[in-house]
């Protein structure tokens, strides 16, 4: 059984990094994974997509994720620009960076977290933009339970040793606590 994830963000928000951290966390638990960008040129601010697969067995499939189990939305304004629900399986999980219930209709479990607020409260900014990819991962852990929060925290810390890693790990922990299911 392969779990398939799709991340929606804007170029520069770190959707690809989020996918890679998730796979790194799964790898820490002895599982296999695959993280890749939507194949194309990326431009800062433009809508971008990244994918991840996690499995207990080595993954040999190499194609774009067409029917994800989990969709993660790093920027709620994307709802107006792209159909983030495209292909999401029945009973699938939607995790949205939002203060409010996005009012999604359909057979999905919907989780929200104010990842932007958490990032700003911890001073996580790069070139003026709040860094939301690490906090949203905390919410993904809460929503799916697929990997443990400890693995995500360890993966974040090993990616950015020092203070930067601590702050990002803290963001993931806070988001894990604050994420709520709205549907």
């Amino acid at each position: 059984m392969i779990e398939e994830y799709r991340f929606h963000g804007r170029g520069g928000q770190g959707a690809v990094t989020a996918a890679r951290l998730l796979v790194g966390a799964a790898h820490r638990e002895g599982r296999y994974g695959q993280a890749f960008p939507h194949f194309g040129a990326e431009r800062r601010g433009a809508p971008v997509v990244a994918f991840a697969r996690i499995s207990d067995r080595p993954i040999r499939v190499h194609e774009q994720v067409r029917e994800p189990d989990v969709v993660v939305v790093l920027d709620p304004t994307l709802f107006k620009l792209v159909n983030v629900l495209e292909g999401l399986r029945e009973g699938g999980v939607l995790v949205v960076n939002s203060k409010e219930d996005p009012g999604i209709q359909g057979p999905y479990k919907v989780f929200i977290v104010d990842a932007t607020g958490i990032a700003l409260s911890l001073g996580l900014r790069v070139a003026g933009w709040p860094v939301v990819n690490t906090s949203i991962l905390g919410a993904v852990v809460k929503a799916t339970g697929s990997v443990s929060l400890d693995s995500v925290v360890d993966e974040i810390k090993s990616n950015w040793p020092g203070r930067m890693g601590e702050a990002n790990a803290q963001a993931a922990k806070l988001a894990y606590e604050k994420a709520v299911r709205v549907r």
């Binding site: 790898h27 695959q34 993280a35 960008p37 194949f39 190499h62 194609e63």
Partner: protein
């Protein structure tokens, strides 16, 4: 053996480091760029004792590592698509000079129109140059093929440069687990390059690129061809040696997946072989005995190995991710020749320009082919374009 999560391009850089490459020159081009970026970082941090030569083009990049190899160094370059075409003259030159060299080719479409996605047209364009040409299925194999390429290229029975192909984005930008062998293990298996087959050095004059009698030229080409045929055996030996060191082997020139009891076989190369294998498994669940023959080396071409295994098949389907305009898929043409068109054979051109071809696509196409063969007896389709 530590396992790391690496993109295909960073895997190439890890392998180059493990091979203790001494001279690197490369020019950035998508999707190859992060190979040379990572290597530049490694050189800067002193993680690898190599000279990084900055160049203004791919033509110069290969010329620079060619010069380094002529001077006795273990040398490496990497490119993609238009970069590979731009260096094409030196590609021939390096091979005919019989110098050991390794180049990673991140496969990508050739414009126009502009396209940065996977296609095999760039690497297939190099078939006649005299380079050993291999293609990986996943990042683990990328690491293994790069390390093995140095062994094969430097083997005295070969002395030909070697390309390692990895699919643009599908591997180059996809992070997945890779077992990275320890440096000491690689060192024990891949000793420093010997000054062979010749080395240019101050004080002993050597003339390269002079004009020989035509008959000598002809003999040199024949010598290259002999070396290519020798490489078939060397590649299989190296696959076995590598297995003893790492516990991984792939079957040498071609990997046969569930072919022993198959009646139908899919022939292809590169990353999408994983999708074809998955499709084969699903078709077998429905009682259709399908296998996959994954070409690992386009040159030398595994003609004999394919004949041994596939001559008795009922049907063979060849998937090409490039096309020889006016003929069809180049792999298809080679398979038809190798099998003397004895089984039913269908050539499919697909996935060109990065078009995603997934498990379900393979499932459907193979099932349709099987049905047609079962109904009509013998089927020959030379050049089928899927979804056009």
């Amino acid at each position: 053996m530590p396992r790391k999560i690496l993109t295909g391009n960073h895997t190439v850089a890890e392998a180059v480091k493990l091979a203790r490459v001494q001279v690197i020159a490369a020019y950035p081009i998508t999707p190859q760029t992060t190979i040379v970026e990572k290597l530049a970082e490694m050189v800067e941090h002193g993680e690898i004792e190599a000279k990084m030569i900055r160049v203004e083009s791919e033509h110069s990049a290969l010329a620079a590592v060619y010069g380094a190899a002529a001077g006795g160094a273990r040398a490496f370059t990497a490119t993609s698509s238009h970069g590979l075409l731009y260096m094409h003259e030196v590609v021939w030159w390096a091979a005919a000079s019989r110098l050991p060299l390794v180049m990673a080719v991140v496969t990508r479409a050739i414009g126009p129109p502009w396209n940065i996605h996977v296609s095999h047209e760039d690497i297939m364009d190099q078939r006649d140059t005299g380079w050993i040409i291999s293609m990986a299925e996943d990042n683990q194999e990328v690491l293994d093929l790069v390390l093995q390429a140095f062994r094969i290229s430097e083997d005295e029975r070969v002395y030909l440069p070697a390309m390692v192909g990895l699919d643009g984005f599908l591997l180059s930008h996809t992070a997945m687990p890779v077992d990275v062998p320890e440096q000491e293990v690689v060192d024990s298996w891949l000793p420093p390059r010997l000054p062979r087959p010749y080395v240019i050095e101050p004080g002993s004059g050597v003339i390269m690129g002079n004009i020989p009698p035509d008959e000598a030229f002809y003999r040199m080409r024949h010598s290259m061809q002999r070396a290519m045929y020798n490489a078939k055996r060397v590649i299989e030996e190296v696959d076995e040696e590598y297995y003893k060191m790492t516990g991984r082997r792939y079957g040498g020139l071609v990997e046969f997946y569930r072919c022993d009891d198959a009646k139908y076989v899919v022939v292809l190369m590169g990353t999408w072989a994983g999708n074809a294998k998955e499709a084969a498994d699903r078709l077998r669940e429905r009682g259709i005995p399908v296998g996959v023959a994954r070409i690992r080396y386009v040159r030398p071409f595994p003609r004999e190995r394919l004949r041994e295994k596939l001559l008795g098949m009922k049907g063979v389907m060849v998937f090409d991710r490039s096309v020889s305009m006016g003929r069809g898929g180049p792999l298809h043409a080679e398979v038809v020749e190798a099998l003397e068109a004895k089984p039913s054979i269908m050539g499919v051109v697909a996935g060109v320009g990065g078009v995603d071809v997934g498990v379900r696509d393979f499932e459907k196409l193979v099932e349709d082919f099987v049905k047609k063969v079962e109904e009509e007896g013998r089927v020959y389709v030379n050049d089928y374009w899927y979804g056009v």
